[in-house]
C-alpha cells in the first residue's frame, strides 16, 4: 500500500469512528412513568406462611394443570429452590431463619411488572405491552419466539415452551389482566389466607409498606424492594432479612433498558445519522473515483512523453 493511500485510509477510518462514537454518546432520557392509575401488590414476607395457595390459584386462573390441592401441603418441594416456569407462573420458596428455625421465610416470586420493563423495550416485534394499570402483558399473535425478552429481563422471569414445535408460548405472570379488568382481584391475592398480599394503588402501597416497617422496626429491614429497583416495579416487597439472602438480584435504580435505548436513539434519531452516512459515502465515492481517474490519466500522459 502506498504511503498516500495509507494516509487517506487512516483519515477516512478516523472520521467514521469519530462519527460512530459521537452517535452512541447522544443520550436520550427514559420517559418518566408516573401515573395514579398504576396498581401494585405489596408482598409481606414477614406474614407469608408458605401455604402455596397462590400458586394453585394462579394455575387455575390461567387454565394450567393445577393438580390436587393436597399436593400443595407437601412441604418437601421447599428442599429445592424453584423458579417460575411454563406451568407455574408464580412459585414460593422457603429459606431457613437462622434466628428461629420454626419460622422460616417464605417468598413468592413472579413477574415484577417493572415501571420501565426491559422485556417491552427489547422485544423485536413489540409483543409486550405496559398497560395503564401497570400490568405487563404479552401478545401471542405477534411473538416470533426469539426469546430476547428472556435475555433482557433483570428478574429472569419470562419462560419459553421449548418442547412445542408449533406456537410455543412465552409464559409469565400477567398480573391477572383479564380478572382485574372486570374488577376482580388477582387470583393469588384473592386466595391468600393470611393477607400476605395486598393489592392496590402503587403509591398507596408504598405508604402502607413504609408505615408497616416503621411500626415494627425490629421485624423488618429498612427497605421496600421494588420502590427504586430498575426504576421501580409494580410489585413491592418488605422482608425481615436482606433481599440478597432471599435470592433477589441486587439492582440499581436505573431502568434496565436505559443504556440500550440511548444507543438506539443515537443511531436512529429520525434516520438522520444513517442518511448522513449514506451521503458522506456517496461523496467519498465520487471524489475518490475522480482522483483515481485523474492520477490514471496523469500517469498515462507521463508514459506518453
Amino acid at each position: 500500500m502506498s504511503d498516500n493511500a495509507r494516509r487517506d485510509f487512516l483519515k477516512q477510518v478516523g472520521i467514521t469512528t469519530a462519527a460512530t462514537v459521537g452517535l452512541s454518546s447522544i443520550t436520550a432520557k427514559a420517559d418518566e412513568y408516573k401515573s395514579g392509575e398504576v396498581q401494585g401488590v405489596l408482598v409481606d414476607i414477614g406474614v407469608c406462611v408458605g401455604c402455596r395457595n397462590c400458586e394453585r390459584a394462579c394455575q387455575v386462573a390461567h387454565n394450567l394443570p393445577a393438580g390436587d390441592p393436597e399436593e400443595y401441603h407437601n412441604r418437601d418441594v421447599y428442599k429445592e429452590f424453584r423458579r417460575p416456569s411454563t406451568h407455574s407462573l408464580t412459585v414460593v420458596n422457603e429459606f431457613e431463619n437462622p434466628k428461629n428455625k420454626l419460622i422460616p421465610y417464605d417468598v413468592k416470586y413472579q413477574c415484577m411488572h417493572c415501571n420501565h420493563p426491559a422485556c417491552v423495550s427489547a422485544c423485536i416485534v413489540g409483543a409486550f405491552t405496559k398497560n395503564r394499570n401497570g400490568a405487563v402483558t404479552w401478545d401471542t399473535n405477534k411473538c416470533i419466539g426469539c426469546r430476547y425478552c428472556m435475555v433482557a429481563c433483570p428478574f429472569q422471569i419470562p419462560t419459553f415452551e421449548y418442547d412445542k414445535a408449533i406456537q410455543p408460548k412465552i409464559m409469565k405472570c400477567d398480573f391477572c389482566f383479564e380478572r382485574t379488568k372486570e374488577g376482580l382481584l388477582p387470583a393469588c391475592v384473592a386466595n391468600c389466607p393470611v393477607e400476605a398480599l395486598t393489592y392496590g394503588n402503587r403509591d398507596e402501597l408504598l405508604v402502607l409498606a413504609k408505615k408497616r416497617i416503621a411500626r415494627y422496626p425490629d421485624k423488618y429491614i429498612q427497605k421496600v424492594f421494588g420502590e427504586d429497583e430498575v426504576g421501580g416495579t409494580s410489585w413491592l416487597y418488605i422482608a425481615p432479612v436482606d433481599f440478597e439472602k432471599l435470592m433477589f438480584p441486587t439492582l440499581g435504580d436505573k431502568p434496565a433498558p436505559g443504556v440500550t435505548e440511548a444507543i438506539q436513539h443515537g443511531i436512529f434519531s429520525y434516520f438522520i445519522p444513517p442518511l448522513a452516512l449514506f451521503g458522506w459515502l456517496g461523496g467519498v465515492m465520487w471524489l475518490s473515483k475522480r482522483k483515481k481517474e485523474l492520477t490514471e490519466s496523469e500517469t498515462k500522459k507521463e508514459e506518453d512523453k
Partner: protein, 404 residues
C-alpha cells in the same frame, strides 16, 4: 504481476475426499434440523429458561454476520474509497457475504420458536429494540447482496443464453432482461453498494448493542456501552482476513497458485485495523477499570485472554513481518487467527459472558446444536464450491486459461 487476472468459473472435479466428509457432516446437521422442526427446540438444544440463547445465536447468527463482513469491507475499500488492489477479492468476498447472510437468515429461522412468523418484524415495529434493527437491516442487506451479485450472473450468461428445444423461445426474452438489467440497474449499482455499506454499519454495530440490556447478567470484561463500536470495528478487522482465509483454502483445494501479490497487498491493511480495535478495547477497559477482573483466575479471564492474545495481538504482530506476508502458509495462519479471534469474541459475548441468575449449571451446547452449526458451515462450503464452478467469481491468471 505480469499476467492479467480476471474472474472466471473454476474448472475442477466436485468431489474430493475432503468434500465427501463435508457432505456427510452436512447431512448429519440436516438430520438434527429435521428433529428440531418436528419436535421443537427442546428436543435438540440444551437451552432453558436461564439460557435462552446459545450456540445458534452466538455462532450461526452473530459470528456469521461478523465473518460475512468481508462483503461490505471490500466493497467499501474497493468501490467507495477506491483503494488499489481490491478488485480481485471483491467478488469472492461478495459471494461469501451472500452465502453467509443467507445462512444467517436460515439460522435465525431455526432458532426462533415460531419460524413461520419470521416476517413479523416487517409489520410489527419496535424502534427501541436493537434486535428489531438487526432484523430489518439483515433482511434488507440480504436483498441488496443478491442485487449486487446479479451482474455476475448476467456476465456469465449474457449472449450465451441457449435453452434447449421448446424452451428456446425464452432465449430472446431472457437476453433482453439481462440487457435491460445491465443498462438500468447496473448503472444504479452504486446506490446499492453504498446502501450495503450503510446497512452493514448499522447492523454490525447493533449486534453489539444486543447484550447491553442484559446488564448485570453480563460479565464486566465484555459489557460496555461501546460494545456496538467494538463489534463494528472488529467486523471491519475480520473482513480482509476472511478473504485471505478463503482465497488460500480455495486455491489449495482447486490446485491453483494463490495470488500472493494481491493477497499480501490487502493483508497490509489488517495490522492497522487490529491496532485501532485493540486501542478501543483496552482504552475502554482502562476507563471502566474492568481490567481488575483479569487478575481473577477463572473461565472469564482465561476466555478473555485467549480472545485478545491469539485473536488480536499475535496476528497484529505477525502481519508486520515481510516473511509472513510473502508466505502462503504464514499468511494463512495469521488470517485464521484473526477469524478465530472474532469467532471467539462472539462466543464469549453471547455465551461465556452471559451468566444468568439462578442457573444451576452453565450452558454447554448439545451434540445436536453443534451438528446443526457444523452442518450449515458444510452446506455453505458446498454451495460456494458449486457457485465458483458455475460463475466467474474467482480471479485466475489468464495464462492458465483453457478455452471454454
Amino acid at each position: 504481476m505480469s499476467e492479467l487476472v480476471i474472474p472466471k468459473p473454476v474448472k475442477h472435479k466436485f468431489f474430493t475426499p475432503g468434500m465427501v466428509i463435508v457432505t456427510l457432516l452436512a447431512l448429519n446437521g440436516l438430520y438434527f434440523l429435521a428433529k428440531r422442526f418436528l419436535f421443537g427446540m427442546g428436543a435438540v438444544t440444551n437451552l432453558n429458561n436461564f439460557y435462552p440463547w446459545g450456540l445458534w445465536i452466538g455462532v450461526d447468527v452473530a459470528a456469521g454476520v461478523a465473518l460475512a463482513a468481508g462483503g461490505f469491507v471490500t466493497a467499501a475499500m474497493g468501490h467507495i474509497f477506491h483503494l488499489p488492489n481490491m478488485k480481485p477479492v471483491i467478488r469472492p468476498a461478495l459471494l461469501t457475504a451472500m452465502l453467509g447472510y443467507t445462512f444467517v437468515g436460515i439460522g435465525v429461522m431455526v432458532d426462533i420458536g415460531r419460524w413461520y412468523y419470521i416476517w413479523h418484524p416487517m409489520i410489527y415495529w419496535n424502534g427501541t429494540s436493537p434486535l428489531f434493527e438487526v432484523g430489518i437491516c439483515v433482511m434488507t442487506y440480504l436483498t441488496v447482496l443478491y442485487i449486487e451479485f446479479f451482474p455476475i450472473v448476467t456476465e456469465r450468461f449474457r449472449g450465451k443464453v441457449n435453452l434447449p428445444n421448446i424452451l428456446s423461445i425464452f432465449n430472446k426474452p431472457i437476453e433482453f432482461l439481462f440487457k435491460l438489467f445491465d443498462n438500468t440497474l447496473g448503472k444504479a449499482m452504486f446506490i446499492f453498494i453504498i446502501a450495503g455499506v450503510v446497512l452493514s454499519t448499522l447492523h454490525q454495530s447493533s449486534l453489539g448493542t444486543l447484550m447491553v440490556i442484559a446488564g448485570y447478567k453480563m460479565h464486566p470484561l465484555w459489557l460496555t456501552p461501546i460494545m456496538p463500536l467494538l463489534f463494528f470495528i472488529s467486523a471491519i478487522c475480520v473482513g480482509i482476513p476472511m478473504v485471505l482465509f478463503e482465497s488460500l483454502i480455495a486455491s489449495r483445494s482447486f490446485g491453483v497458485k494463490p495470488e500472493m501479490e494481491v493477497l499480501k497487498n490487502i493483508a497490509a491493511y489488517v495490522p492497522l485495523l487490529l491496532g485501532i480495535y485493540l486501542g478501543f478495547k483496552l482504552g475502554d477497559m482502562a476507563i471502566r477499570k474492568s481490567f481488575v477482573y483479569l487478575f481473577e483466575f477463572n473461565k472469564y479471564s482465561i476466555a478473555w485472554l485467549i480472545e485478545i492474545i491469539f485473536g488480536v495481538i499475535i496476528p497484529l504482530v505477525m502481519l508486520n513481518f515481510k516473511k509472513v506476508l510473502n508466505s502462503p502458509l504464514w499468511l494463512f495462519i495469521a488470517a485464521t487467527l484473526v477469524v478465530a479471534g472474532v469467532l471467539i469474541n462472539r462466543i464469549n459475548t453471547f455465551i461465556i459472558a452471559y451468566h444468568p441468575l439462578y442457573a444451576k449449571v452453565a450452558y454447554v451446547p448439545s451434540f445436536g446444536e453443534i451438528s446443526v452449526t457444523v452442518g450449515f458451515i458444510c452446506l455453505m462450503v458446498i454451495l460456494y464450491r458449486i457457485i465458483v464452478m458455475i460463475f466467474p467469481v474467482i480471479s485466475l491468471p489468464v495464462k492458465n486459461e483453457e478455452k471454454y
